[in-house]
């Protein structure tokens, strides 16, 4: 088509093309901007709706900016919205989510980093087999393992508790995190490891004094991956907890999709936005590292 004009032959891979307004470029930018609108619309609608009062919402136009900004829906979503008989808002779910998140992230990362380290530097017979099972396990639909885990958690008395959910998150975070750490440690020059061995360092000494300091970026990637993943989980939350320990996503769904009472769309959107806030902040703050995390998570093997 016509857009070969943008890279005419004598242009030596310069940083920016000179003709910014060629026909092809207008088409290109036009399309990208249109798609951007589709992507940004829901975020905009969430923000705008959550700042309107109910009378204004009933007048229509979800896309219009609020005529009168009110933060009441936010307050209500946080501390008064009802799920069933409890009317203490999303704050309870937020608290539960934090109490689930922190130990799950710590535990899964500690276990996976040690696993990955053992798998790349201390291979033993059968280690690759277990690793393969672990990776295949990441593809098994969770539905096949849900019930056996219910039984296991019941046996150890953790069913319905936050501890049980932490355990579940640790187990299901293991495949991808182990892969992440294994691949990273495998890229560390072997001479370094051998030199440490010659100097008489053992398993843990090498791990703590050589590997961890070198792997800090990958720890950050793992944390980003786990925080967003666990925060956004719905399935495990709904199965393995009870109303008092529901994580935020489950509680949000119950608040918005509850059948009784008048629908307060502004409160619902405030609640939705509140739930999405944690991963959004992490996403916008972490930038490139987030992309690296999902790339590591996506391109397996």
């Amino acid at each position: 088509m016509a857009d070969t004009t943008t890279n005419t032959a004598q242009e030596p891979r310069g940083p920016k093309p000179k003709k910014t307004f060629s026909r092809a470029n207008i088409f290109l930018y036009g399309m990208l901007i249109m798609v951007s609108v589709y992507y940004l619309l829901p975020l905009y609608v969430m923000i705008v709706t959550s700042l309107k009062g109910m009378p204004e919402i009933r007048m229509g136009n979800v896309f219009g900016p609020p005529m009168e900004i009110t933060f009441e829906p936010w307050v209500k979503a946080w501390s008064e919205a009802c799920t069933g008989i409890n009317c203490d808002g999303l704050s309870r779910g937020f608290g539960n989510s934090v109490r689930i998140l922190v130990p799950s992230v710590l535990m899964s990362i500690v276990i996976a980093s040690v696993n990955g380290y053992a798998l790349s530097n201390w291979k033993f017979k059968g280690s690759e087999t277990f690793f393969t099972i672990l990776i295949i396990g990441a593809f098994i639909p969770y539905q096949t393992m849900l019930y056996p885990i219910v039984i296991m958690l019941r046996e150890i008395g953790l069913m319905g508790s936050i501890g049980g959910l932490v355990l579940v998150h640790t187990v299901f975070g293991m495949p991808i995190l182990t892969l992440l750490f294994r691949n990273y440690f495998a890229s560390v020059p072997e001479e370094l490891f051998k030199a440490a061995r010659v100097d008489g360092a053992g398993f843990w000494q090498i791990y703590f004094q050589i590997m961890i300091p070198m792997a800090l970026p990958i720890f950050v990637v793992a944390i980003i991956l786990q925080v967003t993943g666990i925060w956004n989980d719905f399935l495990f939350g709904v199965i393995y907890t009870k109303p008092a320990t529901y994580p935020m996503t489950v509680q949000l769904n119950n608040i918005v999709n509850s059948v009784q009472g008048v629908k307060e769309y502004n409160v619902n959107m405030a609640a939705t936005l509140l739930t999405g806030l944690v991963p959004l902040v992490i996403y916008f703050a972490s930038g490139k590292l987030f992309v690296r995390g999902i790339a590591a998570g996506a391109v397996k093997g």
């Binding site: 990208l32 940004l40 829901p42 295949i136 991963p279 959004l280 992309v291």
Partner: protein
């Protein structure tokens, strides 16, 4: 234990194998336990019990393939499968096409590339519950998109997919694409960046147009990336659950039910464990059908993963 079994006839290594490297073995214990008990054990357990007549509690009372026969005679399951096929087919094609197109656009050395990338990817950071609820609100017939367009003067405009059994899956698709394309775009972009600049020069010398170069040269070169994307999208589609629960709750009626939801309803609400197990085993089968050709393509030729 498995470690010590048959290692005596390998190359010359120090004796006493079980204790060699014992710290690494202890450190790998969580992984070994997870692999054996949760992944292998759990899956085997579910498959085994799918051949029993378990209802409220799992019981060994063999019924052969009864659960599967009943499953395929249940309307709700058939509807779920059909829905997933519609959603899955559209989602697969559209995600690949959109993801690649967006990546190709971003790869044309444009300005604000990282801003566009940030915009396309942010939905991926959100929970499916959040995605479902936002789109439920935007597609609300009384206050959402439909009412806004009607307010502009187009009185007969109708866009109400979530309340129409015929189109509800497309309502879900709009939300699913919104959340999922960014990831595929990112993978495609990484693939495009890995392509040698000289290919473009050669194409230009030969006078091949840009679009033609993409279709004829670049896409065939990116086959591994496409396969990875395909596996990712497919395994995501089979897991589809949260989005449906949040956006439509399976309604109107049963018209947006999906297999993952069927499993959970039968296991945890309808107290019919056997049906749940059989349905989840069917889900497992579908994953296996997707994964085997992929694993064959990916690891079949070259050993060592």
């Amino acid at each position: 234990m498995t470690v010590a079994s048959d290692s005596s006839h390998r190359r010359a290594k120090p004796p006493n194998r079980l204790f060699k490297n014992w710290m690494a073995k202890i450190a790998s214990l969580p992984m070994i336990l997870t692999a054996l008990f949760v992944f292998v054990g759990g899956t085997a357990w579910t498959i085994t019990y799918s051949f029993t007549g378990s209802r409220m509690l799992p019981k060994i009372k063999w019924v052969g393939f009864d659960q599967y026969e009943r499953l395929w005679e249940t309307d709700r399951w058939i509807i779920s499968i059909k829905n997933l096929a519609v959603y899955g087919g559209c989602s697969l094609i559209l995600t690949l096409v959109l993801g690649f197109t967006l990546a190709a656009c971003l790869d044309r050395k444009i300005r604000f590339e990282s801003a566009f990338r940030t915009i396309f990817l942010y939905p991926f950071a959100l929970s499916f519950v959040v995605t479902g609820l936002v789109w439920q609100w935007i597609l609300n017939p009384d206050f959402g998109l439909q009412s806004v367009v009607r307010g502009w003067g187009w009185e007969s405009f109708t866009f109400n997919p979530l309340n129409d059994p015929e189109t509800v899956m497309f309502g879900l698709l709009i939300a699913g694409l919104w959340q999922g394309t960014g990831l595929i775009m990112c993978i495609m972009l990484a693939g495009l960046r890995g392509i040698d600049e000289d290919i473009w020069k050669a194409a230009r010398v030969d006078g091949i147009g840009t679009v033609k170069t993409y279709v004829m040269v670049i896409i065939p070169m990116m086959r591994p990336v496409f396969i990875t994307a395909l596996v990712l999208i497919a395994s995501g589609i089979i897991k589809l659950y949260d989005l449906v629960v949040a956006q439509t709750g399976g309604g109107p009626g049963l018209s947006s039910e999906v297999p993952a939801k069927y499993v959970i309803e039968y296991m945890f609400r309808a107290q019919n464990l056997g049906q749940g197990f059989a349905a989840s085993t069917m889900m497992l089968c579908s994953v296996v059908i997707i994964l085997i050709p992929w694993a064959y393509l990916e690891f079949g030729g070259r050993k060592r993963g």
